[in-house]
Each structure stands twice: as structure tokens, then as C-alpha cells.
Symmetry: C2
Subunit: 218 residues, 2 copies
């Protein structure tokens, strides 16, 4: 097997828990074995990013962290609102960079014409408004306020109920608008409950990293 | 390593040459090692599909061939116009199915706002008109009439010249509108000549197959 494709994964939730830090990276390596993923988190962001204010605080820290990944083949920002993606591209020209929003939005276009976003905040991740405003039929937070709230039985039940509402609003595909939903591994459960395809943002990041790896030497 | 994801790859160009038959499948397995790809071609389609008439003739043969892939995890149609994709979905409910058009169009949405298609026929592959009509800035054939013409030095030079024209028309990403362009391996050369990202349809198929494999058990 040829050399692996080296990915720097930026976590926007500060944690000292190695297992939580590496959870998305481990999933990526398990599902996409051509990737070698190193995860690092930004400092002092213990609730992640669930408001524009928290995003503004995070972006400079994300760009600084990205610079520590100069030796990688690609940088991924593990967040559905793509914080700092544009800024990293400006700071590191030539480095492939993407985030969990634009990758999920793009994959969703293959699966349906009427895309709904299930997230945790009351604004739609920016990629959807920029890339596919005409396809967006609904965007719904699920009554929690940070990724930490997702890790409860109530959070899980609330996700499934919200997904059913999105289906009733006409969605034919559900895009997960928070990588905290990856952390709780709920995509398959939502697919089974709704019968609709569900796009998980970390798996979407992986698909694009796999594609970048594939096109590197072809 | 867990079991591979079994893909049935439908070639729409009839050939008795095993190497040519398996070329896309081999590329997919090399680039996406979680895939196990078996290639089969439809009968009596020696020029592939480069007109609506040839497509009409091919579709029933594609659906019949797809039925021989019932034991696979996914079926891919290796053609940029997605011939038979809709019909296979109707014939084999529950089977993941996609083609080289809709996958390329979806990935392109991540890479740019102004998408141009470089193909071999004077009509735009149907996925672009259906999925992203507002993002399509140009669609240009390159002066050849079948995938076989691509395999000449003149065919190659003509591709590069056409790609430069598409860039001048404002494209910020180039989608290859013919899997014959994969056969000649020209994506990287076009990227280097134009400085634009280029989406190869077979690699795009692979990215979605890898994504389906990833989401199967997650």
C-alpha cells in the first residue's frame, strides 16, 4: 500500500480528553483507510461554536492551529459551519482545505432536491446559503444549545423528533448541521426512522479527503 | 481490515479487451481500497454512448446488466450522463446506485460556483441541468465524436485547448463530462494547464462509493 494521505483535523471544541479529541479522526481512519489523521483542538473553546460570537472568537485560533499543520496533505475543519476555512485558504495557499459544512452540502446535492439541515443552532450553516439556497427547504435546531447537550438520551430523542418534522416539511435528504451529531453517531438511526438519506458531516469530510487523496496522483 | 464494499461497475462501452474493461474498476480499487469492484460491459455498444439515440438503445441493456449485480453493495454506472441510473433505481429498490454525472456535479459544487463541463458530445450531461443549472457557465465538446477518438495525441491536445476556453468563459471548476477522459488520465494535466480544480467522473464515483461504504455501518 502506498503512503497514506496525511490529514490535519481541527477540532473546534477544546478538550483534554484524548478519546473525545480523537473520536472524529479515528472514525475517519476507520472508514477511509487511505487517510492518516492527526487531530488537534483550538484552546479555550469549551462549548465549541454555537453562535456567531463564539465563531468570531474561534476563527483566529483556527487559523493559528492550521499553520501547525503545514506538513500535511490536507486540512479539515471538523465543524458544520466551516469556521476559518476561507481564512485558512488565504493563509496557506496551495493547501487543500475544507470543512464539514460545504462537504455535507455538496454530497447532499447528489441525494436529493429538497435538502433540510438538522443542527443545534438557530442559524443555517453558511455553506447552505452560499452553495444551495434554492434547494434548502428547512433548517431546524433541535432544542439544545451546545454539542454537549447532545450527549444525553433527551438530546437523542429530540434529534429524531426534529428529523421527522423535517421530513414532513418536504425534505428528501437530511444534512446534519453539527459534527456533535457525529460524536453521538445518530445518522443511521435517523435514516431508519425517516427513510431518508442522511449526510453525516464527518463522513462527508472523509469522502472529500479520500477524493483529494485519489486525485493527488491521477 | 473489515470486509470490502462490493461494487458492480457497469461499463457502457462494449469491449472484449479485459484490460480496457477493468481499467476504471482497477483505478477505483487502487484509489479507494475499501472497494472491491467487478466490471461488466453491456453488449453491442462498441462506440459507447455519445448521442441520445445510442443512450436509448443502451438503457434497457444497462438495466439488465444491473440485475446481474443484485448481490453487490452498490452499483455504479461508469458514464457521465448517468444512463439507466434512474431506471436501475426503479428496478432494484434499496440498492444504492449512482453514475458519473450526478457524482461529478455534486463534488464540483464544493470546488466552485461557476462550473464548466468538458465533454465529448454537444449536449450537457443531464445531471448538470437537473441539479445545478444556475452554476453551469459553459459546456463544451472538444471536437471528437466518441471516446475512442480521445485516445490520440490530437484528442489530448484538443482537450487542453478546450479547457483553456472554459477558463476564459469564467469557469472556476471543470467537470469532466465523459469517463473516456478518465481512460486517458487527463485530469491532472488539465489542472496544471488551467490552475483550476478538475473533477474526474470515475474518481467522483469512487468518492461516493467510499461514502456509501462509510455510512453503511455508521
Amino acid at each position: 500500500m502506498k503512503d497514506k494521505f496525511r490529514v490535519g483535523l481541527i477540532r473546534v471544541l477544546t478538550t483534554g480528553d484524548e478519546e473525545l479529541l480523537n473520536l472524529h479522526g479515528k472514525l475517519l481512519m476507520e472508514k477511509y483507510p487511505m487517510l492518516d489523521v492527526e487531530s488537534r483542538c483550538i484552546p479555550d473553546q469549551y462549548e465549541g461554536i454555537h453562535s456567531h460570537e463564539l465563531e468570531a472568537v474561534a476563527v483566529p485560533k483556527i487559523v493559528e492551529l492550521a499553520k501547525t499543520f503545514r506538513d500535511k496533505d490536507m486540512i479539515l475543519v471538523s465543524c458544520a459551519d466551516d469556521p476559518g476555512v476561507k481564512e485558512i485558504r488565504a493563509a496557506l495557499p496551495g493547501m487543500p482545505v475544507t470543512g464539514g459544512g460545504e462537504t455535507t452540502a455538496a454530497l447532499a446535492v447528489r441525494y436529493g432536491e429538497k435538502i433540510a439541515v438538522l443542527g443545534i443552532v438557530d442559524y443555517t450553516p453558511k455553506a447552505y446559503e452560499r452553495m444551495i439556497p434554492d434547494k434548502l427547504v428547512a433548517s431546524r435546531p433541535k432544542g439544545v444549545h451546545s454539542t454537549l447537550d447532545l450527549m444525553t438520551p433527551e438530546g437523542r430523542a429530540s434529534c429524531l423528533a426534529t428529523a421527522m418534522e423535517l421530513k414532513e416539511k418536504g425534505a428528501d435528504v437530511i444534512a446534519l448541521g453539527c459534527t456533535g451529531l457525529t460524536t453521538i453517531g445518530i445518522a443511521k438511526e435517523i435514516e431508519e426512522a425517516t427513510g431518508l438519506p442522511v449526510i453525516d458531516p464527518v463522513l462527508a469530510l472523509g469522502a472529500f479527503a479520500a477524493f483529494e487523496a485519489a486525485k493527488k496522483d491521477f
